[in-house]
């Protein structure tokens, strides 16, 4: 089946199948459930050769993936929101152990108030665990990125786990065309996982023992160095993918109509897909605006962002989460990267789409107008917040 229509969650499952994940351990949670249902079907029917481990929680799911990966098996899991939060301890363990596990995370808002809809609070809360983070804008990218993520993660200079993000419902439950590459081509692209060190009963080793202050810092530096080096590897792997499969997903930052732009927005996930329409509408009116899509948040693409800062006078950063510090995470890190840059344009943060609030093109056009005018006061604005004075309170 070269081209088919499928949901983002099916695309995750087919990505794991094409990557020949040898162990799947997962616990169901809305809106991720159909990922593990699909994988269970594929394993039960014999279409996918994998050990499917049923577990009683997400913490156990990640523990099982850690153990499997430590023996040299390619491991996959998927979760969302509270499931990801429950994994927190094990996420740090996976990254510190340098195990290239790939996990789908279906971005869902954190409760309370209870919500099943899209925002990035769940994965943003895990940004400092040492996992790479990819944010996808369509189902094709979801499938392709699961496979790409294994290739990056298993590179011997990297050896870090990776999360492949999908927006709840906007991708997870959305049907759209996806090209499913032939298994043989994926096999050529992604060789079997071959870790430098693994647990093997014939050659016993002790791993991850207590490390005194003499060496702990050095081991943590190695994680930071691997994350830094992954910036180059992610770019190369996406280029190799394009050569082989004819499509690129933009490496770390995908640029859209940035040529001669005076103003740009930085956004991620499905809102950046919709933002293309907004940029096109503005360009049709002769307004020089562009879009920089943050495809990868960990590692943080600070060089690409400094390049954009050289090209435009004004940047709006759109965040679908909040740090409860001073702005959303994409904004604080963008602003942090720009402080040391030679050129510092006007930068403002727009917190938008929290808890799955819909983001139609006209809302993004409204932001683009403000960003272009550079007259928008303040540093952080909750865009579309319903207040007693706002134009549309339903």
């Amino acid at each position: 089946m070269p081209m088919d229509v499928m949901t983002g969650n099916s695309a995750q499952a087919y990505g794991a199948k094409l990557a020949r994940a040898e162990v799947v351990a997962a616990y169901p949670i809305t809106p991720q459930t159909t990922v593990v249902e699909k994988l269970a079907d594929l394993v039960a029917s014999g279409e996918m050769k994998s050990q499917y481990i049923k577990v009683e929680s997400e913490h156990s799911a990640m523990a099982a993936c850690i153990a499997a990966s430590a023996t040299g098996a390619r491991a996959y899991t998927a979760t969302a929101a509270h499931g990801l939060a429950l994994m927190h301890e094990m996420l740090i363990w996976a990254a510190g152990s340098r195990l290239p596990i790939v996990m789908g995370n279906i971005n869902r808002a954190m409760a309370p108030p209870w919500s099943v809809w899209a925002d990035y609070q769940d994965s943003i809360a895990e940004r400092d665990t040492g996992w790479m983070q990819f944010y996808c804008q369509n189902n094709q990218e979801v499938l392709d990125t699961v496979i790409q993520a294994y290739k990056v993660a298993e590179n011997h200079d990297i050896l870090l786990p990776a999360m492949v993000m999908e927006d709840a419902f906007y991708l997870s439950h959305t049907f759209e065309p996806v090209d499913v590459p032939p298994q043989k081509d994926v096999d050529d692209f992604l060789p079997p996982y071959d870790p430098p060190i693994k647990l093997d009963v014939d050659n016993p080793v002790g791993l991850w023992a207590l490390v005194p202050p003499d060496h702990y810092m050095e081991f943590r530096f190695k994680i930071a160095k691997a994350m830094e080096d992954s910036r180059k590897v992610i770019q190369e792997v996406d280029e190799e993918w394009e050569k082989k499969f004819g499509r690129s997903h933009g490496g770390l930052v995908e640029r859209y109509r940035m040529e001669d732009a005076d103003a740009a927005i930085i956004a991620a996930g499905t809102m950046s897909s919709t933002a293309r329409v907004a940029v096109d509408n503005m360009r049709d009116k002769g307004k020089k605006v562009g879009l920089a899509r943050l495809r990868v948040f960990r590692p943080f693409p600070y060089e690409e962002i400094r390049q954009i800062a050289k090209e435009v006078d004004s940047i709006g950063v759109l965040d679908r989460s909040y740090t409860f510090g001073h702005g959303g995470a994409f904004y604080t890190e963008t602003a942090g990267a720009l402080y040391q840059a030679p050129e510092r344009p006007h930068v403002k943060n727009y917190v938008i789409g929290i808890g799955g609030r819909d983001i139609p093109p006209k809302e993004i056009e409204g932001i683009l107008e403000k960003v272009l005018s550079k007259e928008d006061g303040g540093e952080v604005e909750w865009w579309g917040l319903r207040t007693s004075g706002s134009r549309e309170v339903n």
């Binding site: 229509v5 439950h173 959305t174 049907f175 759209e176 809102m271 897909s273 919709t274 329409v277 819909d358």
Partner: protein, 182 residues
């Protein structure tokens, strides 16, 4: 771009209908996107789903607020949900109803089509009288009334994607295709 909004009740198959319609248009080499507005999807509760069809890739992922077509799987929803909200000038509402289009009072500025999808579904053994599964029948009616997707493509995607009773669902679509009034 053609935008279709589905209104139904949990259990009637609105979300599956939006996917089957997208798959049918995909068979005609269109770009498609379909998704549910995931609410409290319990049996009987109002459900909304969307299908977009275009000749080029669809980047806009926002909900449909100005549909070309509205498909209502349960006529009693009209009293609870503003089904024609944002409907484009000269757009069309397709209702599952025993009434003739001229007897439906929903407002002006758009076309109305009707089909008794419940009767068709029950005749083909799809669901029960109290909870008929009308999605395949209403899609057959949509094919004829809108002309946006060929009944053959629809039949093929029903046979591939219906969760159960593939042949009965396809037959229901064909029968409703013949019976729709507009």
């Amino acid at each position: 771009m053609i935008q279709i909004r589905f209104h139904g009740r949990g259990g009637q198959g609105s979300v599956v209908a939006s996917n089957i319609l997208a798959a049918a248009a995909f068979l005609e080499e269109k770009w498609v996107q379909s998704f549910p507005f995931f609410g409290v999807e319990r049996r009987g509760a109002p459900v909304t789903a969307y299908t977009k069809i275009d000749d080029k890739p669809i980047w806009d992922r926002s909900e449909i607020t100005e549909p070309d077509y509205v498909i209502v799987l349960d006529a009693s929803l009209v009293a609870v949900v503003d089904v024609t909200h944002g409907l484009k000038e000269n757009g069309m509402v397709l209702l599952n109803s025993e009434s003739k289009p001229e007897d439906i009072e929903l407002g002006d500025g758009f076309r109305i089509a009707t089909v008794d999808a419940t009767e068709v579904a029950v005749a083909h053994g799809l669901g029960s009288k109290s909870a008929p599964i009308v999605n395949s029948a209403i899609l057959g009616a949509f094919s004829k009334a809108s002309g946006e997707v060929d009944i053959k493509s629809l039949e093929a995607s029903i046979l591939k994607m219906a969760p159960a009773k593939h042949k009965e669902n396809a037959a229901a679509a064909l029968e409703a295709y013949e019976k729709v009034q507009f």
